[in-house]
Symmetry: C2
DNA sequence: ATGTCGTAAGTACGATCGTTCGTAAGGCGA
DNA sequence: TCGCCTTACGAACGATCGTACTTACGACAT
């Protein structure tokens, strides 16, 4: 059925490489990735890594996809048990703050670190990052819509509110990276005011 | 008085180099700067550039300082004629949007592009970027305070509002970089709601 | 058993990087 | 005039980069 141990071994190697690459890219950026240092990190040869990811761009794309998996698992998936609407929205925000605060990725939010690098550089890496950003914004907007439908809040534009929440979270991430305290609390105060 | 044409010539060369470096860094990032390509851009030799900026880090710091000068001249200084308070605050925001929209720097906001690169990398470059960010936030908060003192708005925390405005502007910059339309309008709508 | 496919190592190539050095040119103060 | 300083060039250094091979080994299908 799923035989062929060769490709499963390859997939496993790819996975360990991209997991490491995500950590590196959250600090050094996707442009800072290199076959040589990644190979040394995971105990492979430079040629071996280059064989798994023929070009650097493909390595970057694979790293972005890997980051998305980790993000979904750590932030989005745990909130699936929370009721839709304002409750899940707040849960998502708290999860996100925890995600940026604790070093899930040692360099903080992966997208905050890499979108600025690639937003002026057309190509598949930028496309992938942008698609994931839109997906995250849509997820937030969806929960705002649910909150409106449930009568938990009124007078909010879902898309605009999602934009606003995302903006606050990104700034909180920067503040935490710079060692400023109170960034998370600022976000909570503003959003509590929004959803009041 | 301050004679010595040698050093003035050097200062002029340094200035042309950092001006060019600011443009490059707004796209490629401060880490993407290199003596070689900068020298080719401004018509100097690689060694000549390296003589003006002994280390790359000093080049990066000088580039950050140069970006600040351009930013102050383009965004802050033109609003000095506008009355303090809500009016100047709105003028600053419009100036900022224009600054990010039009290619004053070809890669959009210089700090949005480079803070994520250096926020996990201690050193003088990060310190300089962080100091300028705090200065910008303080400027915004100051105008909010003036607006409160003038009775133009009520119930706002200056520091919190500045944080909020800055967050929105940064997200608008990202949206514009990704080719999404309506980012600037979203900012205006939210801020109009804030200052209503 | 034979040939094919994918992982992986190893090597090499050309390019670019930051930095250093020696040297020349020219404005400066004594 | 002389010696000093700063700019600027040109060359070279060691290192690292992305990529492209050749080779080997184990797993698969025929």
């Amino acid at each position: 059925m799923t035989g062929d141990q060769r490709v499963t071994r390859g997939m496993r190697s790819r996975s360990t490489i991209t997991r490491r690459a995500v950590d590196v890219a959250s600090i050094e950026g996707l442009s800072g990735l290199s076959f040589g240092s990644l190979a040394a990190d995971v105990g492979l040869s430079k040629g071996g890594v280059a064989a798994l990811f023929p070009t650097k761009e493909q390595l970057q794309v694979a790293t972005v996809e890997s980051a998305r998996e980790v993000f979904l698992e750590a932030v989005v998936q745990p909130t699936s048990a929370v009721p839709s609407g304002a409750a899940r929205l707040k849960a998502l925000i708290e999860r996100w703050i925890a995600y940026a605060e604790a070093p899930l990725f040692p360099g903080g939010c992966f997208w905050a670190a890499n979108l600025p690098d690639f937003d002026s550089r057309p190509g598949p890496v930028r496309d992938s990052l942008a698609r994931q950003r839109r997906s995250w914004l849509a997820l937030l907007a969806e929960q705002v819509s649910q909150a409106i439908a449930a009568g938990e809040v009124t007078g909010l534009d879902p898309e605009l509110t999602a934009f606003q929440i995302d903006a606050l979270l990104n700034s909180a991430n920067i503040a935490m990276r710079l060692g400023e305290t109170g960034g998370a609390d600022k976000v909570r105060r503003v959003i509590d005011g929004l959803l009041a």
